[in-house]
Amino acid sequence: MSKIKPEDLDKIGEKIKRTMLLREGSCRVKIIVHMGTCGIAAGARNVMKALMDEIEKAESKDILLTISSCAGLCSSEPMITIEEKDKPAVKYVELTAEKAKAIFAGHVLGGKIVNEYALAAGSERTL
């Protein structure tokens, strides 16, 4: 490694920015893939892989992809929940890799809910 210049600091930072965002837990959009036994059996892992690819392709640095357990509607798995700051969370059901890609383009990048695959906006109240 040759000597770095001040502008190189940002380049080094950019390369692992998504990892750092993940650790800081800060992001514009959070995508939660429900990976309970039911979700995994129904193909949640393919959905997750597709989303990982899309994030990589879009080179987006402000999107968090994470996993959670069964969302309670096992018959409609695989499911994902998309959380945006100050907006109600949206749940999508009966997903495939293709549908996940469409949701990524429409909702995550485009900001519009993809009604076709959406179950509902909002989450259950907890406590």
Binding site: L22, G25, I40, M48
Partner: protein, 593 residues
């Protein structure tokens, strides 16, 4: 492709001694076994803070906090949380006196009320990876300083921020730098004082272990500001992990050209080397520290003239002070000066130890009350016992009683109360701690560590120790209290360095706040806390004893007799006052008097 889950495992010395490395290996193996190696990344970090509950894992991005992990917990944890997405409640933190666990780190009171500046990267980066430090704005302040600021501008920023030395005395950092900048002699040096030796203190070690680059960057900025081109990291040999991490960090910084010649193409040269101290407490004193680097016997020297290294100007700051510097340049003096009190700006790192539920490492804004630290962050005293005192500033500091719990933590207020900020040790004591014995303990420490140069310190500490030991043995005499006070003041006045001048503090402050305990030891030959063996006897209460034989079975001296379901008695000739019966009894029938 980045992973979707980062498992931050604390690998500070505390957690390693609790088995963190085995946990890490087990995590790696289980993650592989479940085929999750592309999803889950295990990251070693330093100083997660809640050291008493180690080994600790923090799972990001959710921020789930796991504690007190054992190797056998890991297969289930990996399967449940990482494969099935179900966080494991039984491994989470449960606040003292409550039943339900708190899953998220940011909701745990211990973490919620802290404000991290010096410890900004704790638990977030792998200390062995310079890129991760850079991604958290690392080395930007150095770039800014050397490419766009003059030496005077850097010093003005530090002065305006109000930053004061975090090693104990609280000298304004900007003023120290300015005087060295104006000194015409060259070459100049910067030194990081990481010779942390107070019993119960581990702030500096934790900062170096968790974020070594923050210290290196701070030192490079300081070197630029004063015109120094080389520096020493004075670290004690007893901190092998910190030594290893800082050495690796220095190598990485050199590879990137962040240390060495012509840094950022600015023409500024600076390099740094580690100097391993042998662990003498007096080396924390700056003149003794430079003597040690020069290869001489580490004895303090008279000041003024100002401390020099090889007869040249030197800036010596503590680890935490250096770690604050980059943040001040990045965020501005004004931002920093808004945190804290009128004369004490920013935050302070404390290592919270002793009789406290959440023993660990905390960083809090200056001005916070002791009560907030002990009760809100520290979670109070274990087993519902009463708070008796908190000792700040290590062997140089003093004891503060419950009546001073609302004291706000800043340099002046602690001084006025007879203690000191010190480097940040904070030892909490409950009702069962004997203050005479505690004072004796600290004086024994300083007596041991006195370099021996000044008679007042060398012999004075011994005289204090003899008197205090006599009191604990039930041989205290009328007039001892006055003698302690007179001696203490003489040692304070006649000793040359901070070690001697401050060593009577534990005695004098405990005499001020807990004089009754001293009197009880002398006049009544009684230890109110029930700790000094020569002054206590163990007896069994006739009313409360249920004759269960638990105490008799546990007594190592076989001093307890009595048939089952009948009253037990202790043979005082055989009793060694070890207190095993007290802990064994479930009916509170063992009485200490």
């Amino acid at each position: 492709m980045p992973h979707i889950t980062n498992v931050m495992i604390c690998t500070c010395t505390n957690c390693i001694s609790n088995g963190a490395l085995d946990i890490r290996d087990s995590l790696d193996a289980q993650i592989k076994r479940q085929g999750l190696q592309d999803d889950v990344l295990v990251v070693p970090t330093g100083a997660s803070g809640l050291c008493v509950n180690g080994p600790i894992l923090i799972v990001q991005p959710e921020g789930i906090f796991y504690q007190k992990l054992k190797g056998k917990d890991i297969p289930n944890l990996v399967e449940e949380h990482f494969l099935k997405g179900r966080p494991v409640k039984s491994l989470m933190y449960v606040p003292p006196g409550e039943e339900s666990p708190i899953p998220e780190l940011r909701s745990i009171p211990f973490f919620k009320d802290q404000r991290l500046i010096a410890l900004r990267n704790r638990g977030l980066i792998d200390p062995d990876k310079i890129d991760e430090y850079i991604a958290r704005d690392g080395y930007k302040a150095l770039a800014k300083a050397v490419t766009s600021m003059t030496q005077e501008e850097v010093i003005k920023e530090i002065s305006d921020s109000g930053l004061r030395g975090r090693g104990g005395a609280g000298f304004p950092t900007g003023r120290k730098w300015d005087s060295r900048r104006k000194d015409p002699r060259t070459p100049k040096y910067v030194v990081c004082n990481a010779d942390e030796g107070d019993p119960g203190a581990f702030m500096d070690r934790s900062i170096v272990e968790a974020d070594p680059h923050s210290v290196i960057e701070g030192m490079a900025i300081g070197a630029y500001a004063v015109g120094a081109s080389s520096g020493y990291m004075y670290l004690r040999m007893e901190y092998p992990l910190a030594v290893k991490r800082i050495q690796l960090a220095i190598e990485q910084a050199r590879e990137y050209g962040l240390l060495g010649k012509d840094i950022f193409g600015s023409g500024f040269d600076f390099d740094l080397q580690v100097f391993k101290g042998a662990g003498a407490f007096v080396c924390g004193e700056t003149t003794a520290l430079v003597a040690s680097i020069e290869g001489k016997i580490p004895e303090p020297r008279q000041r003024p003239p100002r401390t020099t290294l090889w007869d040249k100007p030197v800036v010596i700051n503590n680890v935490e002070t250096w770690a604050n510097v980059p943040v001040i340049l990045n965020w501005g003096a004004k931002w920093f000066a808004e945190i804290g009190t009128e004369k004490s700006k920013g935050t302070k790192v404390f290592s919270l130890a002793g009789n406290i539920n959440n023993a660990g490492l905390v960083e809090v804004p200056m001005g916070i009350t002791l009560r907030d630290i002990v009760y809100n962050i520290g979670g109070g005293i274990p087993k519902g016992k009463e708070f008796k005192a908190v000792q700040t500033g290590g062997p140089s500091g003093g004891f503060l009683p419950a009546s001073l719990l609302d004291l706000s933590v800043d340099y002046e207020q602690l001084d006025e109360a007879g203690s000191m900020m010190g480097s940040g040790g904070m030892v909490v004591m409950d009702e069962n701690v004997c203050m005479v014995e505690m004072a004796r303990y600290f004086v024994a420490f300083t007596n041991d560590e006195s370099c021996g140069k000044c008679t007042s310190c060398r012999e004075g500490s011994l005289a204090l120790l003899e008197i205090l030991s006599r009191m604990c043995n039930g041989e205290g005499k009328p007039g001892d209290i006055e003698l302690l006070e007179e001696l203490g003041e003489a040692i304070r006045d006649a000793s040359q360095c901070g070690l001697g001048q401050s060593l009577p503090n534990p005695v004098l402050s405990s005499l001020e706040h807990f004089r009754d305990e001293y009197k009880a030891h002398i006049d009544e030959k009684r230890c109110p806390a029930g700790l000094c063996k020569a002054l206590i006897t163990f007896n069994i209460s006739e009313e409360k004893c249920i004759g269960c034989r638990l105490c008799a079975k546990k007594c190592p001296q076989e001093a307890i007799s009595g048939e089952a379901k009948e009253l037990h008695t202790i043979d005082q000739d055989k009793c060694i006052k070890c207190g095993v019966c007290l802990d064994a009894c479930k009916s509170e029938a063992v009485l200490v008097a």
